[in-house]
Symmetry: C2
Subunit: 207 residues, 2 copies
C-alpha cells in the first residue's frame, strides 16, 4: 500500500525511495533519542540528503512523526488480524489469544524502529499528534478486549482477575519486549512460545 500521494499523480521510484529512507531513519532516531531530541539535520544526514530537502517530501517534523507512528501500529494490527482470522471461528479462546500474542510480537519485533519508536515516544509527543492517533489505538484495545471477553465467557480466562487488567498487563508486557528481545538468543518461534506459556500459565509451578 503506497503512502498518501496528494498533489503528484506520477511519483517516481526515486522520490518514494528517498521519502521512505527519511521515515526509516527518523523512526530509528526517534526511538533512540526521543522525538524532540531528534533534529531534522540528523534525519537528513542519516538519509544522505541536506536538511532543506526534507521539506520537498514532508510539510513538517510533526508530519514525519505522524507517519512513523502510523507505520508502527499498522504493522502490529495487520499481523494480529491475519493470524487470528486464519483460525476457524470455533477455535478455542486459548488458540485465538495465542495467535494474537504471536501476531503482536511478530509485528513488534520485525518492524523494529517503527514499532519501538511508537511505544517509547507515544507518552511524550505533542498533544496534537496524540489526538490524531488515539482512535486507532482505542480500536486495537477494543479488539483485544473482545478476545478476552470471549475467553472469560467461555470460562477459559481465570475468574479471579479482571479482563481489563489482564489486557493491560499482557499488552504492556508484550510491548516491553522491544526493550530486551534479542534475536541472537534463540529463534522467534521459540521466544513467542515461551512468552505465550508465561501469559497463559504463569512462571511458577502450581502449589
Amino acid at each position: 500500500m503506497p503512502t498518501k500521494m496528494q498533489e503528484r499523480p506520477t511519483q517516481s521510484a526515486a522520490d518514494t525511495a528517498t521519502r521512505e529512507r527519511i521515515l526509516l531513519e527518523a523512526s530509528r532516531l526517534f526511538r533512540h533519542h526521543g522525538y524532540a531530541a531528534t533534529t531534522l539535520r540528523e534525519v537528513a544526514d542519516a538519509a544522505g540528503i541536506k536538511a532543506g530537502s526534507i521539506y520537498y517530501h514532508f510539510e513538517s517534523k510533526e508530519q514525519i512523526l505522524g507517519e512513523v507512528l502510523d507505520k508502527g501500529i499498522q504493522a502490529v494490527i495487520v499481523a494480529v488480524r491475519e493470524r487470528v482470522e486464519a483460525l476457524p471461528k470455533s477455535a478455542t479462546s486459548r488458540a485465538k489469544v495465542a495467535a494474537a500474542i504471536e501476531g503482536h510480537l511478530w509485528g513488534l519485533l520485525h518492524h523494529g524502529d517503527f514499532t519501538s519508536a511508537n511505544i517509547r515516544i507515544y507518552g511524550q509527543i505533542p498533544l496534537t499528534a496524540k489526538n490524531r492517533h488515539r482512535k486507532v489505538r482505542r480500536e486495537y484495545a477494543d479488539y483485544w478486549d473482545a478476545l478476552l471477553d470471549e475467553a472469560m465467557s467461555r470460562g477459559e480466562l481465570r475468574r479471579d482477575i479482571g479482563a481489563t487488567i489482564a489486557r493491560l498487563f499482557v499488552i504492556g508486557a508484550l510491548n516491553w519486549t522491544v526493550e530486551w528481545y534479542n534475536p541472537q538468543k534463540g529463534s522467534f518461534d521459540n521466544f513467542a512460545k515461551q512468552i505465550t506459556t508465561i501469559v497463559f500459565d504463569g512462571t511458577f509451578t502450581r502449589e
Copy 2:
C-alpha cells in the same frame, strides 16, 4: 536522607525546599515530555522561580537528570529489599518473589514521577548519563536473578522457561504498569494481588 551537600555545611530549610521542588517538577516534566523536550525555563516556571536561579542549586540540566533518575530507582530498590528481607530465610521462593513484586509495584506507583520518568526516558538520555546509572541497574537485575535462580533450583519456577526470560518479562510487565495503573479503580493491595496471581499462575485456567 538529605541530598548531597558539597560546598555548604549549613544549608537552610528554604534552600532544600526549592531544590526539592525543582527536582519534583523536573521529574514530572521529564515524564510527560521527555528529557530533551523539557526546558529549564519550564522547570523554573513550575517551581516558581526564574530560569537563572536554577544554577544556584544545580550545575547543569544533566545533573538534575541524574538526581531524578537516582531517586526513581532508589525508591524501588528500597521498597523491594525492605519487604524481602522482612521474610525468614526459610520462606518459599513464592513468598519471596511475591514480596519483591509487591515492593517493586509499591516503589513504582508511590513515587509517581520519579519512577515513571526513569522508566520512560532511560532509553533516550545522553550516553554519559546512561553510563552513570548502568551499574545500579545491573545490581538490581542481579538481585532479581538471584531470587529467580533460587526459585528454579527449588523446583518452584517452571522448568520450560528460562530464568532470564522470566525476569525480563516480569520486570518489564511490572514497569509498564506505571502507564496504566489507576489508583481510583480499586485498592493498591488488591491490584498487587491480581498482578502477582497473573505472574505466578497466568491468565488462563489450566487445560
